[in-house]
Subunit: 352 residues, 2 copies
């Protein structure tokens, strides 16, 4: 590591003008100044001009700390999540995009908090963010079932919206997609193509959506009289290596499936890679489907049949609900379930 020292740089902070300075500058009371610069209340046009000129001259900016202190709000929305696994993912990118577009016209900003740390799990630390007025509310992204903070937060009346998972608690607002419908749609698609031996690669424990997808798959098989040996339900972890492992287990077995449904796209990619390395052609000998519709799902060879969930729309709705509830000083409690859609591409076809 090489270091270079730049020129000395000017260290002293610039003086920041206050409303008082402006008031003095133009011989008005600071209330008049406040009305012009902060309140936009009715002020004589002469005064207004004077104040605005002085503000520009002194390079004045509202001190949002004094302001928020007064209003008893921080101006920040906290995004709370397991950053370790989520932060660099496409999923979070979409989530953030959605959050951002909900922020249009709002004066709020986003702060990012990691729920992985020990003290977060009982909600103490998260709740404290609100009690200390560091955030006005929380957007909880894809919480795990073993995150025990939700109850704590709810008891303390922390305004919050859960995004990406549907919670059993009816009084906690949550926005998710219709996981079960998505799985049913893929399975129906495969059955229509003629498949009868369909296997499933599940997501990690601890995510309700993941559990939902698995249950929907099992239910579909029962409803349609498909064979479902235990080995057809492989555990997974939403990663590509996880998909590879599951595919190895499935394709090595004597009664290998003719189709594999993965609980997310990454695992489906892993399945396809393994199939390729085993010289099992996709979709010729094996159909593969995923869930998420990552951008690369369309780019890959073969392109991936998958379920599209409107992640950024979910996030946008969630953030809007939170913002609205902050304005109205109420705690949101509705549950939203967004529709998903099946995108059929090259990775699925009729079985041989």
């Amino acid at each position: 590591m090489a270091a270079t020292k730049g020129e000395p740089a000017q260290n002293k902070a610039l003086y920041r003008a206050t409303m008082n300075d402006i008031a003095r500058e133009c011989g008005l009371s600071k209330m008049t100044v406040s009305r012009v610069l902060g309140n936009r209340a009715s002020v004589g046009s002469a005064s207004r001009r004077k104040v605005e000129a002085a503000a520009k001259k002194l390079n004045y900016e509202l001190n949002s700390m004094a302001r928020n202190f007064n209003f008893n709000r921080s101006g920040f929305i906290g995004i709370a999540m397991w950053t370790g696994t989520l932060i660099g993912s496409y999923y979070f990118g979409e989530i953030f995009r959605g959050f951002q577009s909900a922020l249009q016209g709002s004066t709020h900003h986003f702060a990012l908090f990691d729920t992985a740390s020990e003290s977060f799990n009982d909600g103490t630390k998260l709740a404290r963010l609100y009690q200390q007025r560091k955030v006005d509310g929380l957007l909880i992204v894809a919480p795990h079932t073993h995150d025990h903070f939700l109850q704590t937060l709810q008891n303390l009346r922390v305004p919050m919206v859960v995004v990406g998972e549907s919670l059993p608690e009816p009084s906690v607002c949550s926005i998710s997609c219709d996981d079960a419908a998505g799985i049913r749609a893929v399975c129906q698609h495969l059955v229509t193509l003629g498949h009868r031996r369909i296997a499933f690669v599940g997501g990690p424990d601890g995510l309700i959506s993941s559990e939902r997808r698995k249950l929907a798959f099992e239910q579909f098989c029962r409803d349609n009289g498909l064979m479902l040996p235990p080995a057809y339900i492989q555990p997974g972890d939403y990663t590509m290596p996880g998909g590879r492992r599951a595919a190895l287990a499935l394709l090595a077995a004597p009664d290998a499936p003719t189709a594999i449904v993965a609980a997310n796209d990454l695992m489906a990619f892993g399945v396809i890679e393994t199939a390729r390395s085993l010289n099992v052609s996709v979709p010729g000998e094996l159909s593969v489907a995923g869930f998420d519709d990552l951008p690369t799902a369309a780019d890959r060879f073969p392109s991936l049949t998958t379920v599209r969930q409107p992640v950024s729309t979910m996030a946008e709705h969630g953030a809007k609900i939170l913002l609205r509830s902050l304005e109205n000083h109420e705690i949101p409690s509705e549950h939203l379930t967004m529709e998903v859609s099946l995108t059929v591409r090259e990775s699925t076809g009729a079985p041989r």
Copy 2:
């Protein structure tokens, strides 16, 4: 989209105790309370116990807004970047990981700002965040050369550190990796293997690091007397499709290269995919190398020879420098260049 209304939920906010309440509760002045709860100054142990008991009883939490208002600091560090392209990337995941570990023991938190919006480019909006005391300082991630805000920020003495790009401005603190050394290492590796016809897939315009990698490549070729027809320098954009396009152009030409160096891993993946689809074996007929060392670089078939840059370490250093400079009320100006290392894997070999 289906919606369900949860139970009414308790809407009124809980009353928040203040230091005054506690003072009254235990018959002491609020200064004594402040000393116990905020200052940790010397206080008689009897008083201390009384205050702590009352605080617990009233479920008291420090009001950080009043506190920060007093201290004239917001408690937030702003992370400013082009979120559209970065937020969902592995790179940002590493960056954030680094930032976070720098925050251990600090009372600061992170806020996230998008520099894509129009008004950001001249720095006005970004500077305002600081002038309005919404953030105490800024971490600028991978700024583009056409981001014109840096000069503005510097003039306004905004404490900031640029991470991931090395800037020409000597008085703006920036932390980056030694791009040129990385490229030289890959090229040397290829030349040592016997390659003489090496092509390059460049990154997007507007990133200094990207430009640096290209220049280093050209310089290496000149220094080593390698042939370098213009077509050997392909434009790219740091995406997989970009890598595919470049590879198509390179492999179709009459004097196709025996090795391709991509300015990042994603493009290298694209090159490998295209090679595969053209039945050009890697590394048999074509060696491919990247830059970044994404986790998947080791997983792929063939695994990728690439340059590892210590992204999270860079970020951690950057954040630490900023935090330290905030404590000392000074503006950092050093330039740090971190070392990179070559990781040789399966995608490179001797030419036929």
